[in-house]
């Protein structure tokens, strides 16, 4: 319905062009197969991080790198985000950025809670009377 009204407003050549983009999202199957393979490889690599038992900063950086790569591939290719207009891309991808604030706040908060527990409860349980 919507598309029909646009078609009447735009010159035929452009309307046809718009329609291809519109209904289309028409990409060769090979694109999906490649991304599929890439996701398999990335998943295997993140599993191997655990299998070989890497620890510390190296482990975290590998896990997070593979995670964001996989997420990026799924959103941009499988969910077709890279072919959408900027108006939609920004509307969907910018709001989750406020999660950075939440995660930072909760990191500070959990650090505070942790040390509060260490300072008060750990000594308390160490007392023979139990503290309460």
């Amino acid at each position: 319905m919507d598309r029909a009204t646009h078609a009447t407003q735009t010159p035929p050549a452009q309307a046809a062009n718009a329609d291809v983009h519109d209904v289309g999202q028409q990409h060769p199957i090979s694109v999906y197969l490649k991304i599929w393979g890439l996701l398999f490889v990335l998943s295997l690599m993140s599993y191997l991080v655990d299998f070989f038992g890497f620890q510390g900063l190296f482990r975290w950086s590998l896990i997070l790198t593979f995670m964001f790569l996989k997420a990026g591939l799924i959103v941009s290719v499988f969910m077709h985000m890279m072919w959408e207009r900027l108006a939609l891309i920004y509307a969907i991808l910018v709001p989750p950025l406020c999660l950075i604030v939440l995660v930072s706040l909760m990191t500070l908060e959990s650090d505070y809670t942790f040390w509060t527990r260490i300072l008060f409860f750990e000594t308390e349980t160490a007392l023979p009377t139990g503290g309460h």
Binding site: H6, Y47, K70, M79, R85, A87, I92, L99, S110, F114
Partner: protein, 238 residues
């Protein structure tokens, strides 16, 4: 006549909105958002609404994962080692985290078949679309079954939302909450995909030409896979 005039004056405007500005330019962003109506141009309303729903779902899962981070970082008791908790003995060999790895590959495969179903949908290939969607739903059902197996195993080993034999009691609470909510999403997805696949097979979208319904269902399914990427990394591998 007057209608015509208005139409003519509007034509240049829609012109810039639709065709002249490149879809990825900042100029298109500004012009799309500053038009009086229809911000998401060339996007079917169902698809825009699905994206907005998925955005809200992103926040729900983010809240779960952030609270998991908070309880895990603030507990003074050691956290159970997921690598050991989710290990299985297969063919006489003890393999760490193997069930979760298989579940991950199953879900990624289902995402692959779904992406191809969307593609065949836009080619109006009724049978291939339906077959690939049923394959997706089947893989999703396999995923949920493995999750049910995992839950059963852990419950039998004594994991409860308020405690477990290996360490921090918060482990059970976050595990059941996060994987349970994700499993619920997968289950709903399996039902959703089965319904749409049946309609594809019956030729409903051949008649009304609305094959974008397949893409919208695909968006939901890929999102479920996307959430699993985060759960896999943050809960199972961390």
């Amino acid at each position: 006549m007057s209608d015509r005039l208005i139409d003519m004056t509007q034509t240049p405007l829609t012109h810039t909105d639709h065709a002249v500005t490149a879809p990825h330019s900042l100029e298109s962003l500004v012009s799309d958002w500053s038009t009086d109506q229809e911000v998401f141009k060339k996007v079917q309303w169902g698809k825009a609404m699905m994206w907005i729903f998925l955005l809200s779902d992103t926040f729900i899962f983010s809240c779960f994962l952030t609270s998991y981070m908070t309880v895990r970082a603030s507990t003074t008791v050691s956290w159970p080692n997921p690598s050991e908790v989710f290990a299985l003995t297969l063919f006489g060999q003890h393999i760490p985290l193997i069930l979760i790895a298989i579940m991950t590959f199953v879900l990624i495969s289902s995402s692959g078949t779904m992406a191809m179903a969307v593609n065949f949908g836009y080619r109006h290939n009724r049978k291939a679309t339906a077959a690939l969607m049923f394959a997706t739903a089947l893989l999703g059902a396999a995923f949920v079954s493995m999750q049910a197996f995992e839950w059963t195993k852990l419950i039998l080993e004594g994991v409860r939302p308020w405690g477990n034999p290996w360490g921090a009691p918060q482990f059970g609470a976050t595990f059941f909450m996060i994987t349970g909510f994700h499993g619920l999403h997968v289950s709903i997805g399996v039902i959703y995909l089965s319904i749409i696949a049946t309609r594809v097979l019956n030729g409903v979208y051949d008649r009304n030409g609305k094959y974008e319904v397949v893409e919208i269902a695909g968006l939901y399914w890929h999102f479920v896979d996307l959430v699993w990427v985060f759960i896999f990394a943050l809960f199972y591998l961390w």
